[in-house]
């Protein structure tokens, strides 16, 4: 028992190692990389199976693997192999084996690198699905969840030359990522309320569940997690990505969109059931969404002409069914339903893949009569199709009986008779549609006259037909074996409910005739629909049940993009005037906001006019005059001279402040600047009349005044006595200037000694500017030559 838990990380992470290996060697081995997929999935399957058997034989202890991954975030690498998780893992690995084999025959001879990438993504996908199945930490689950989104994005876009494939991949990623984000927020909220992310702990500890239920975050968390699950499992209204994702190669569709990935959402709900099901809105939401999806999927499937589209929509339908089951708190039959669906739908997808591979079309209207060309495939399709239709003795029949039995005896529905009959009626109708779909599939593709497209078709190679054959055999075998109670026990064991008691039997007893009657109704209506398919099809074209969600979604994205374009066009418009105005206005606004927020008024500032030296006053007046001159000057030279005068006057103000060093520097710098400006002015055009409209000028003036006033306020406050800090560093500097640094001019000593690093930066700037100008001019001159 000691090392048992180490099998868990091996199961989950080995595929990732293999995926990376595949990526590396894919270029060399190309198609043979499929064997790596088979190998890794067989290993994973064997591991899971061994764990399961071990668990059942030995006192039912659940192996748990724990590793402190991110203790700071309270996220741990917890893996836990409970029967439901193992069931899901075995399903994933098992179908993985089949898909791997199938791909060997299916994937055409492309560039080897591309095939390597394909298998790497597929194996990586399998690893992450195994991770979802076995994770016991909400965020670990989330990590794997998103990895499935990414890998599925890459797989759906396998035919990336086609516009449709890219679009389908993008839509799938967008929708599932959106759900993922919502789910992440939901998980965070769960953690907020309870203090743990460990799923098994949340599910088993009454205290935590109570804490969660009492928390105000309970409802939002529930809804957010639902959004995540619904998007992944393609529930209405997020269902539209799944049919679009059918552009993927068929093995991918089989694996991701029938057997495993779309079931992750359902699986998640199964995991969350014990945590959330105290909520009052658990059942209503799940039943509504599930039932709606169940019916809409089936209804739309019948309308579809694309084979994979048909199957995709029936998949949506079944996922809705499982959601509904969870909503009814009837988790005991989830394993049964999931397994059933994976078996027949996987087989059907693979069969459709064979048909497409052979005939290069998936449109049911162009097909027919293939039974003569490929009899084996026909048999496989018949077996799985009848299972989907829910005919005895196939697995599908068993599952449907179980569903009807639940609907008839469910506690939640029992108290609401009207709802109960509504649900039962809808389910019967939906199942009837599915029945009709499966008949349409069998008849449309394999029976009837041989179509043109199918003239030169030859039977598929062994790689292609063996995997669906295995699934078909499973369908039949489980169906027949359910005559014995061991199947029932197995299904109960695998279910997410610990003490599941679903009653499964091929032969209904006299006490349980209700389901049988409903089944008969289903089959009857189904035959009617199939017979009247012309009329029904006509009617369906008239009544579209839901607006095309794809259009809504595209419209949303286009709207956002349109808004973005408007924004960028107007905001980032390249106009310096706007940039400056926005920056300055923001500065002014923020400053005024802060000043008014802290109630700084002029009352706090003592304003005395007495201390004003005459020299200062006259300088200031002159300065104002020169500034105005610079602003209004109509000639370049005038402006330049006024600017220089401004500089000199500023230098004189420094004199008033008794700072002779900056006086000299300022005067020299001002002179040199003037020389530069004149030099450049010499090359530049003369001032023209402003093209600005009067309103724009007024605006400029307004902004200028605002900036000026803001600065005025700041300076006034900061320099006024109540706000000034007199205990500053000046004294320290002065006292050390001579004795410490041996200089008399304190300013200069500061420059070259105390704060020499500032000076170092300053001269670095000067040097770099020299280099920049030199480089710029020389480069230009060289470019002209």
């Amino acid at each position: 028992m000691s090392d048992l838990e180490h099998v868990l990380p091996a199961i989950v992470f080995l595929p990732f190692v293999v995926a990376i290996f595949t990526l590396l060697v894919g270029r060399l081995i190309g198609r043979q990389a499929g064997w790596l997929m088979v190998l890794s999935s067989v290993t994973a399957f064997a591991g899971s199976l061994w764990l399961f058997i071990h668990q059942q034989v030995h006192d039912r202890v659940v192996p748990v693997f724990t590793f402190a991954w991110l203790p700071d975030l309270n996220i741990h690498l917890n893996l836990r192999a409970d029967p439901f998780g193992l069931f899901f893992a075995m399903l994933i690995a098992g179908i993985g084996v089949l898909v791997g084999i199938y791909s060997l025959g299916y994937i055409p001879r492309l560039a080897t690198g591309r095939i390597g990438r394909y298998y790497a993504a597929l194996i990586g996908f399998m690893g992450s699905m195994l991770g979802i199945a076995l994770a016991d930490d909400l965020f670990l689950l989330f990590v794997f969840w998103e990895v499935t989104s990414i890998t599925s994005f890459l797989l759906i876009g396998f035919w990336y030359e086609q516009d449709k494939a890219r679009k389908g991949a993008l839509t799938a990623l967008q929708i599932t990522a959106l759900g993922g984000l919502a789910m992440m927020a939901g998980f965070v909220l769960v953690g907020e309320a309870t203090g743990t992310y460990q799923i098994s702990m949340l599910a088993s500890q009454e205290v935590l569940r109570q804490q969660l239920a009492d928390s105000p975050l309970f409802m939002p968390a529930l809804l957010l997690v639902f959004v995540g699950a619904f998007t992944k499992s393609a529930q209405v209204p997020f269902h539209f990505w799944l049919p679009n994702a059918m552009v993927a190669p068929t093995p991918v569709s089989t694996y991701l969109h029938a057997a495993t990935m779309v079931k992750a959402g359902v699986f998640l709900i199964g995991r969350m059931l014990p945590i959330f099901n105290q909520s009052a809105c658990w059942s209503p939401i799940l039943i509504t969404v599930g039932l709606l999806t169940f019916f809409v999927g089936a209804y739309q499937a019948f309308r579809e002409n694309d084979l994979k589209g048909m199957l995709a929509r029936t998949t949506i339908s079944t996922l809705g069914l499982v959601m509904m089951i969870y909503g009814l708190n009837a988790a005991s039959q989830d394993a049964l339903q999931i397994f059933n669906h994976a078996a027949y739908k996987g087989a059907l997808f693979l069969v459709v893949g064979i048909v497409e591979h052979a005939t290069h079309t998936r449109d049911i209207r162009n097909l027919g009569g293939l039974r003569k060309k490929m009899p084996t495939v026909f048999v496989l399709c018949l077996l799985s199709g009848l299972s989907m239709a829910g005919l005895p003795p196939f697995f599908g029949f068993i599952a449907k009986e179980a569903l009807y039995a639940e609907l008839l005896h469910n506690v939640f529905l029992h108290n609401r008779p009207f709802l109960q009959w509504f649900v039962i009626g809808t389910c019967v109708l939906a199942n009837a549609f599915i029945f009709a779909v499966s008949f349409r599939l069998i008849f449309g593709v394999f029976l009837g006259p041989l179509s043109d497209k199918a003239q030169d078709v030859h039977p598929p190679c062994a790689f292609l037909w063996i995997p669906p054959a295995i699934l078909a055999v499973v369908t039949v075998a489980v169906g027949i074996s359910s005559a014995w109670p061991s199947t029932q026990n197995l299904m109960n064991m695998l279910s997410s409910e610990v003490h599941a008691e679903v009653h499964v039997s091929l032969f209904p007893s006299v006490d349980h005739l209700g389901p049988l009657i409903l089944s008969c109704c289903t089959i009857g209506i189904g035959i009617l629909i199939f017979k009247a398919r012309g009329v029904v099809g006509q009617a369906q074209r008239q009544f579209d049940l839901l607006p095309a969600m794809q259009t809504v979604w595209d419209g949303f994205l286009n709207g956002v993009t349109w808004f973005a374009e408007c924004f960028v066009h107007h905001w980032q418009n390249g106009s310096m005037r706007w940039y400056f105005s926005a920056i300055l206005l923001f500065f002014v606004g923020l400053s005024i906001l802060a000043i008014s927020y802290f109630r700084l008024s002029f009352d706090l500032v003592p304003i005395s006019l007495s201390q004003m030296p005459w020299s200062g006053l006259s300088l200031c007046v002159l300065l104002v005059i020169t500034v105005v001159t610079v602003v209004v000057a109509q000639t370049r030279l005038g402006a330049a001279i006024a600017l220089t005068a401004t500089g000199f006057l500023v230098a004189l103000i420094f004199v008033v402040y008794r700072s002779p060093d900056i006086l000299l520097t300022q005067i020299l710098i001002e002179s040199v600047s003037t020389i530069f400006i004149l030099l450049i002015l010499f090359y530049m055009p003369s001032f023209k009349k402003d093209r600005l409209r009067p309103a724009q000028k007024m605006l400029n003036l307004g902004i200028s005044c605002a900036v000026g006033v803001t600065m005025f306020i700041f300076v006034l406050f900061a320099t006024s006595l109540p706000f000034r800090e007199t205990e500053n560093l000046a004294g320290e500097y002065l006292s050390r200037a001579f004795h410490g640094a041996g200089g008399q001019n304190a300013v200069n000593v500061i420059i070259v000694d105390f704060r020499a690093v500032d000076t170092m930066g300053e001269i670095t700037v000067l040097v770099v500017v020299g280099l920049c100008i030199f480089g710029l001019l020389r480069t230009r001159r060289r470019m002209q030559l």
């Binding site: 990414i150 927020a185 956002v560 924004f567 109540p722 706000f723 500097y733 480089g775």
Partner: protein, 531 residues
């Protein structure tokens, strides 16, 4: 510790040396690379040292703070230094393959070192005015870098960039002056000490003055509405160097926000400015990503993404207004900075390779890169998913930390914006993928050997994977750094000295008791403990 000057001294000497070696390309490369590698080694050692034995400070000229200028290396500064040098070295190696003769002749390598110098300086500086000088050095280096090659677009955008930054510099000087007048010092540690004692209308005025600095730093950070310069100018920076710019320059602004608005300003009502930042961050995130959505030029898309990503970091700073989540939020911000520098640099580098391979910058004209350059595609998808916050890469974890902090603090709106932004980021990145890497090859193959450029890029991409899968050390480092930013006592003691020679208060924070661990308070303890 006197050696603290090395992160600026080495680039400066190298810049001068390399400038004098003008015309001898090989030697320039060797010298630049040698100094970068050496300094990278040094700063990593410094980080380990500081993390172990507390904050180091260095007084210039032997004049002690607050009187002399002081360089301080706390954990945050060291982290930033390491990133700067790491990315700098990587980018330098990358540019060996991209730099043209004329660029090389006209001071490409010296200017590059000057940018490094300015950035490193900004991280170490412990004095506000010195920070201004560091900014100017960095800026003037970046002006030169942006103009190297001197084609029309470059000069035009540089002109705007200079103009905008000159306004910023003016405001910076004004801010320094006003602060000196009201508080009487510009040394960070001294300021932190003195502002903490302020109250009443003086504290209000200081907060109002801090708005001037907020505008300056927000401009550097490229937050809303001051990000005008960024999407225009980054596309003209020479390939490769744009990676360094994208990674580091805006982060200098974020760093300054952290340093100044979290650590230094502690007066009554300083929460006002933090709240302003929170509001700005929401707009920044959303508008940045919207800008990215409607672009078709790969560098422009990436540039707009910088803005939206900066929004996340500023959001982390803004969340610090709530003391309960402050530490987590700051730790998240620091982790985010680390992540973003690495990822965004690598994306720009990858974008540069993609441009070379396909001969165009526009993603509509690219196509089929997945077949032509599968290695580049792999790097790109990893980096872009990391940017978009997809697990298991580093982007996911840092978004998670911030979102968790936001939810704990009850800032639901900003979390919503962050999530929407994350989604739109993914949308925009997959757009690049779909257009440039998928599709048929729709252009002639430019026979270009990009393998040399791949190796440095790959280093960064591997880092993001590593930081996602093995995040614990990074997270706890970020947390320790956050702690010393939030509680400046250690910093003050290290700079101003606590009188005698006893070891500074900032003792290494090893594994503390789980229940005391604030990171865990967010989620890991039953509610009673939290209240």
């Amino acid at each position: 510790m006197n050696l603290l000057v090395l992160p600026i001294l080495v680039p400066l000497f190298t810049a001068l040396l390399v400038a004098l070696l003008n015309g001898r390309g090989m030697l320039q490369k060797v010298v630049s690379l040698g100094s970068c590698l050496w300094l990278t080694g040094f700063v990593f050692w410094l980080l380990l040292h500081v993390d172990k034995s507390g904050i180091e400070s260095m007084c210039f000229g032997g004049w002690e703070a607050p009187f002399g200028i002081v360089f301080v290396a706390d954990r945050l500064a060291c982290i930033m230094l390491c990133l700067s040098m790491l990315v700098g070295t990587v980018v330098l190696v990358y540019t060996f393959w991209t730099v043209t003769d004329i660029q090389q002749k006209y001071f490409f390598y010296p200017l590059f070192q000057i940018v490094l110098l300015g950035v490193n300086w900004s991280f170490l500086s412990g004095d506000l005015f010195n920070l201004f000088v560091a900014y100017e050095v960095m800026l003037v280096g970046s002006y030169g870098m942006m103009m190297v090659g001197a084609n029309r677009g470059q000069v035009l955008q540089t002109m705007k960039y200079i103009a905008i930054n000159t306004i910023g510099s003016t405001l910076f000087v004004v801010g320094c002056g006003l602060l000196y007048a009201t508080v009487g010092t510009l040394n960070f540690a001294d300021l932190a000490q003195k502002t903490a004692t302020l109250s009443g209308s003086r504290a209000g005025l200081v907060t109002a003055i801090s708005m001037v600095l907020l505008v300056v730093f927000a401009m550097k950070t490229a937050t809303f509405p001051l990000f005008f310069w960024l999407p225009d100018s980054y596309p003209v920076v020479p390939a490769g160097v744009s990676g360094y710019f994208a990674g580091l320059l805006t982060k200098v602004g974020v760093y300054s926000l952290l340093r100044v608005f979290i650590m230094v300003f502690r007066q009554d009502g300083h929460v006002f400015s933090i709240n302003v930042l929170l509001v700005l961050s929401g707009f920044t995130m959303l508008l940045g990503v919207l800008g990215a959505m409607c672009q078709w030029d790969i560098r422009r898309i990436l540039s707009w993404h910088i803005i939206s990503q900066v929004g996340y970091m500023v959001m982390g700073v803004g969340l610090a207004a709530n003391p309960m989540i402050a530490e987590v939020a700051i730790a998240g911000t620091i982790f985010y900075i680390v992540h973003h520098i690495i990822v965004k640099s690598s994306l720009f580098l990858i974008g540069g390779i993609a441009e070379r391979v396909s001969g165009t910058q526009e993603i509509r004209k690219m196509g089929g890169l997945l077949d032509m350059a599968p290695g580049v595609a792999l790097l790109f998808i990893v980096a872009s998913l990391s940017l978009a916050g997809m697990p298991p890469f580093s982007g996911f974890l840092c978004k998670l930390v911030l979102i968790r902090a936001g939810l704990t603090g009850g800032n639901y709106l900003i979390v919503f914006v962050a999530l929407v932004t994350g989604f739109l980021t993914l949308y925009s990145m997959t757009k690049i993928w779909s257009y440039a890497f998928w599709r048929n090859q729709c252009h002639k193959v430019v026979g270009f050997n990009y393998r040399g450029m791949m190796a440095p890029t790959a280093i960064l991409v591997v880092m993001t994977i590593l930081m996602g899968l093995y995040a614990q050390p990074f997270l706890s480092l970020g947390q320790r750094a956050a702690r010393s930013v939030l509680d400046p006592q250690g910093y003050i003691a290290a700079v101003l000295g606590s009188g005698d020679e006893e070891p500074v208060a900032d003792t290494p924070l090893e594994v503390s008791e789980p229940s005391r661990d604030p990171m865990r308070l967010v989620c890991g303890q039953p509610k009673e403990h939290r209240r």
